[in-house]
């Protein structure tokens, strides 16, 4: 125990083993996945986030939304399915297009992997970022007023001005206009939905039955 090289070698072996087993082996197993063809949708899934949503993803990262929101649905434990946060387990293939993983591990707010399916309206999100108390009274999510511009109404009100309830309005003759970052972030929220199936993550029987019922109703 008296020699530096002995300690060095021992610790090196331990850390190297840990790296090999935990990171390298997993990387070999599930770290080189590719997109798969979804025959129902007629495209390769998962798709890439593009356009305004891709910019919104950067805003999401910049503002540190990951400090409170995850993007992963679990089936084996928790209440994610019952809460309507998703329909199936999130698996490694769902994330292969993420250059920076936004999976997260803290939930002060709800999971967002399917927020686009739950809340499909752009306007809802724009109001929510301006002041979360408008749509979810009592939440501890912070407001992001710096993503908006409050300006005087000159002539007619702008087409993209937020329609605010009276108690949240900035005042007579003023309007709230979302900046580009707010719009992109909202687009990103709308893009967050897992609307494709993967063989490795089958949906539960209950959800399949529900889907079948809806399909039958539509057919009639």
């Amino acid at each position: 125990m008296n020699r530096g090289p002995f300690i060095f070698l021992g610790v090196f072996l331990i850390v190297a083993t840990s790296w090999t087993f935990v990171l390298f082996k997993t990387h070999q197993e599930v770290g080189q996945l590719t997109t798969v063809l979804d025959e129902d949708l007629g495209k390769y899934v998962p798709g890439k986030t593009t356009g305004a949503a891709a910019h919104g993803k950067e805003v999401y990262q910049e503002l540190g939304c990951i400090a409170c929101h995850t993007q992963q649905v679990r089936v084996a434990s928790g209440m994610d399915i019952a809460r309507g946060w998703g329909e199936r387990q999130s698996v490694a293939r769902d994330y292969i297009n993420d250059e920076r993983s936004l999976i997260g591990n803290v939930r002060i707010g709800p999971d967002l992997s399917n927020v686009g399916a739950r809340r499909g309206e752009m306007n809802w999100h724009l109001l929510h970022f301006y002041n979360p108390q408008i749509n979810s009274k009592g939440t501890n999510m912070p407001a992001y007023p710096f993503l908006y511009e409050v300006r005087e109404v000159v002539g007619e009100a702008s087409a993209n001005a937020l329609i605010l309830p009276e108690e949240f309005s900035p005042g007579e003759g003023l309007e709230v206009i979302p900046k580009r970052k707010a719009e992109s972030l909202a687009s990103y929220m709308l893009s967050l939905k897992v609307d494709y199936d993967l063989k490795e993550a089958p949906k539960s029987n209950e959800i399949m039955a529900e889907e079948l019922a809806v399909a039958l109703e539509n057919a009639q």
């Binding site: 060095f8 610790v11 939304c65 993420d98 250059e99 993983s101 939930r107 709800p110 009592g138």
Partner: protein, 493 residues
Amino acid sequence: MNLIGNICSSLFPDLSGDSKNREAVRGIDASIRFPLLALIKSGFVWLIVATVFGLIGSIKLHSPGFLADWSVLTYGKVAPIFWNTLVYGWLFNAGLACAVFLLSRLGGNHAGLGVFLTISVTLWNTGVMAGIIGIMWGEQLPFEWLEFPAFAAPVLFIAFLGIGTWSLLTFRARIHRSSYASQWWILASIFSFSWIYTAAQVMLVCMPAQGAIQTLVNSWYVQNVFGLFIAPLAFATLYYLLPKTLGTAVVGYKYSGWAFWSWFLFASFSGIADLANGPVPAWVSSLGVIATFGLLIPTTTMSIQFLSSLFSRFSVIWDSATARYLFVGCISFQLVMYHEIFGALRGSLETTQFSLYDSGVTQLALFGFAGMTFTGAIYFILPRLLNKELPSTSLIDLQFWSHLMGLILVSIGLISGGTQQGELMNESTAEALVVVKTMQSSFYLTTIGMVFFLIGALASGATYIGIMLSSRTPEESETSLIKEAPELEYSAS
């Protein structure tokens, strides 16, 4: 003018009437005085910064309107700044200060290369500063404890290599061939951090792995920063300072090697348990659970060593500021390991997953175990380095008690509050708003705890300024102020 004179006499104490033995030790201390003071000073500054951000973040959780107009202070930026300043600012500086002091004292030799070490330390703190500004600027990466933007990483890495090289050279230059447990822990921690940091940066930033693997790399890294770097430095400090402050050798010292190797083996695999049921293969988290249970072996060994030593001289604990801090550090270690080991069990993990429980345990580990141990060590080092007494015992008391109060409140707030949150979130379909409402009292408790932490941090800053500026009493410049037992320096090696 007088204050400047006092600072000079702090940095270059001219002492008469010193025995030969003391002179050798003084020579060693003199060679590391500047870098060590740089480490301690930066550590205290970052501790104050970290607690300020911790307080802001904690207030935001119950009063979301607080400072909401400032984009640089939104919760998503404040939270990572808090963790990163706490880890890379306070604990790295304080832990490395202990490492530098221990390596030189135990080596019994002039370290030399003081300038090189000072430059490395300055570079490190520049990197931390750049990282924090980067997060505020909006350049943060979405990886826990690695939020610093990509440009900060090379600076930190080079600075760390500098400090690591210095440590290695100092260890090689030792005059005693045998080595003491503290030296193994320090060397091993420095080797490990260089590797895990490289592995994480390569797999996350330089050549990013696929999304799900990134989460795994991140968890592995976070647990290893604590398990293979911060905790080993705290163990090193305890192995050295317990005999020093208690005046007795560590009980059962011969089992230290066993504790050392088993800790490294199990700790390096343990962090991945909390990925259970996520998008990674199931065996990964099972491996993590097994490894976490393995930690029972070194934990038990070291707990017996540390606590038996402390209890064998229990009366000394309240007489010595350092021993008091070490005592709380050891108790926190017990609590942290209890939560880590039993918290990794499937049942408890499924309850607490994604809640603030983890944050509570981590703060208990960082502020309680590592923070208390390092603070105690700094109060041991400072008087020896400057040959002055600590300026005020009431300041030290204030820091000790406020730090302890903060620790109790924050741990209770986050650990019990987090468990409650987890139960509602993972075991019921209660509305998100109901969960927030239930958590309110825990959030307030955490805020009060953070205020105590801030008071403690300010008191430690005041102590540092006080000892640097105080004038040297005639007694302090003439005699050996600190009565040490030199035979304990290299005890039981």
